[in-house]
Amino acid sequence: MFNQLMQKGRQLAGIGSLVTALGLAAPALAQDKEPIVFGGSIPLSGVFAFAGIHGHAGLTDYTDWINSQGGIDGRPVQYVMEDTAYEVDRSVAAFKKITGSYSPPVYYGDSTGFMKSIASELNSMNSMLMSGASFATALTDNEQYPYQFIPGPSYSQMFGIILEYIASEGEGGDMPTVAFVYSDTEFGKDPIENSKARAAELGIDVVEEIVTKPGSVDVSAEVLKLRRVRPDYVVFHGYVLSPINEFMVQMRQMGLDTKFMGTFWSSDKLIIDKMGKDADGYMGIMPYNYYDAEESGPMLDALRAQAEKSDPEAGYRPTAYIQAWFNAMVWTEVIQRTLDAGKELTGDNMAEALASIKDWDTGGIMGIPVTVKDMSFPVGRIWRVNAAEGRYEPVSDWIHLD
């Protein structure tokens, strides 16, 4: 009995080894060229994990998808990442670890702090292009950050799009008034000065500015300030959820008919999930079509199909997933353009390829052809929450800042 079992075990082991060997050999035979590596410092833990997990899924799914399409220029793509816990020193450690073992021409950075910290090294390396979760306005400074780009509009550009929308709502020259509510962080303060200047250009009166801690709960004093000035619009920035919900609920309880708007990180389903029907009417700027939007396009459809394939149970995919996918799309486009031009994948060549992107059709990820300006994609659309449907619906056309 024992001998029979052993013999059967050996047979199974032999078959298993053969299958394993064939399994390992098959991709090697199909794609025996050197892979192009997508590197990433990804916050799978820590305070930004709510987005990092979906960003990781987006990059993983895009890698699988692009490999199913034959890779880039016939070369397979390999996605290599490390968790950072959203801490700059650990993000840099992940960068060093990955770049020590691989030569990724493109890299996902998880925070503005990391992107700034690594900039000097990136500049001296001249071998990599970087983008990621940050929409910081500072990164549009081509002198200081020549090899970093923003996968959408910068925060200042997001405010620019919001203000253009508000200006378009002014009837008969009676321009709406606006209040800015932002967090006391680098993230929160990023677009404020530029946006005040832009509001003045458009003739919009910024009647109040309120600074709070991110995640504040008690905002009753701030709400009273807003009640005094009665702004037509309140634009939030530098938050994910709180205190946006507190402001909205309390101001509505006071009978104010103010409209509420937010930027990228505060314009996802979380607001609807947490606020329910109170979220109705909240508006956000989003440079990409939502996963559950009615719009479609070849790339948007591919994204949805790949997301469904990789995790059929997941359902709705947050904007962090789409943002990561779009990052990888841009990397692919840039690498392809650089290789097509017969150039090496250096930082300079890839930055040049990025700057050459003009009227690029993103296949439905963004609703209109886009042109790169100052290492960013200054495009967006205003969406409004339909609480009954549990999703965002477009209320403006796509706005492309010049």
Binding site: S45, D83, V88, R90, K96, G113, K116
Partner: protein
């Protein structure tokens, strides 16, 4: 087995290295630190530099908290003062790093001196809150004094330089950071052979008794704060040169907690404990990632599940040390040494 270490003079009693064995192992350590950058890759060099900065700051906090018994949650703020001093001086005056780092230390010491004033009236948790308030105040200055600190955008700076030599790479920075870390620890070791250092310990053990013995509490408590902050300022200056960008968010409150945890985990009132604690707090999260790397070939989704788990394991390790070895890593190290000293007999 070592059987005795008789000291026959006061000089011998006060010596830093009392036996030839200690001298031998210290020489080996220095040699190892010298050879390490020649063998290590960029990642390990980076971690080496991080540990070096952490050792300086932890040693500073150990002087204050471990040796003088004054708890502080302001270490990140003091590091920020040092970092901004270096960034500002480097950008506006172009001074070489020995001068900027010295001034960073002095500036942080001056701030630490002021922050230490409440320590004359309060101690324990009350002092922790006072230093926490100072940390918040410093953060406010970093964020709002735009003409000097660059506001929320912060300051970028050129690499450290001296006599035409530029410390740009991790390799070069290692040779700036690690010798300074060794120097900082040796200076601290020397400190506790002096009247000042012993006064700190006397204050920690019983401040009223210390005062009766003729130790002016005002002078020595403030001195401890200033010294500790000097260390933090130098560490912050090195941090600035290392990352070459300084923003208010570079020095969050969690950083102060990190250093306090390093002192406690390593062993309060023990310089070796500070070193081990700094290394533990910096390297263990990285080492734990090896678990994820080992699992990923079998479970491709392992990073998603393991990453939050590693944070829990790291936290559990800290709690475990506090429960099972309240004297910290230094005590474990002492037991290991004792085992070898007495080998082949049981300790």
């Amino acid at each position: 087995m070592r059987i005795g270490d008789a000291k026959q003079t006061y000089v011998a009693d006060e010596a830093i290295w009392t036996t030839s064995t200690q001298k031998f192992w210290f020489s080996i350590l220095l040699l190892g630190l010298l050879i390490f950058p020649l063998l290590a890759n960029s990642y390990l060099l980076y971690l080496g530099c991080l540990v070096g900065i952490a050792v300086i700051s932890t040693t500073g906090l150990n002087i204050l908290t471990g040796f003088t018994g004054l708890i502080s949650l302001g270490q990140a703020g003091f590091m920020g003062v040092g970092a901004y001093t270096v960034a500002w001086l480097s950008t506006n005056t172009g001074l070489p790093f020995p001068i900027t780092l010295l001034l960073a230390g002095l500036m942080a010491a001056a701030v630490g001196f002021l922050v230490g004033l409440p320590s004359l009236r309060v101690k324990g948790l009350y002092l922790a809150i006072a230093t926490l308030a100072a940390s918040v105040f410093l953060h406010f200055i970093f964020a709002e004094w735009e003409s000097v600190t660059g506001g929320m955008e912060g300051l970028s700076l050129e690499p450290a330089h001296l006599f035409g030599v530029t410390f740009r790479s991790d390799f070069a920075m290692y040779f700036l950071i690690v010798p300074l870390a060794v120097l900082a620890v040796l200076a601290a070791r020397n400190l506790f052979r002096t009247r000042i250092g012993r006064a700190f310990i006397a204050i920690r053990d019983r401040d009223i008794s210390a005062e009766i013995l003729g130790i002016p509490l005002l002078r020595y408590k403030l001195m401890s704060f200033a010294l500790s902050s000097f260390y933090a300022g130098v560490a912050g200056g090195l941090f600035a040169y290392f990352y070459r960008v300084v923003t208010p968010e570079s020095f969050p409150l969690t950083m102060s907690i990190f250093y306090l945890a390093a002192v406690i985990v390593g062993g309060m009132g023990n310089l070796l404990g500070g070193i081990l604690g700094a290394a533990f707090m910096t390297l263990v999260p990285e080492a734990l990632k090896l678990l994820t790397a080992a699992l990923t070939p079998f479970f491709p989704n392992a990073p998603v599940f393991m990453s939050p788990m590693l944070e829990i394991i790291f936290g559990a390790l800290i709690v475990g040390f506090l429960i099972f070895e309240p004297h910290g890593l230094a005590e474990i190290w002492r037991r290991v040494r004792r085992f070898f000293h007495l080998w082949p007999f049981r300790s």
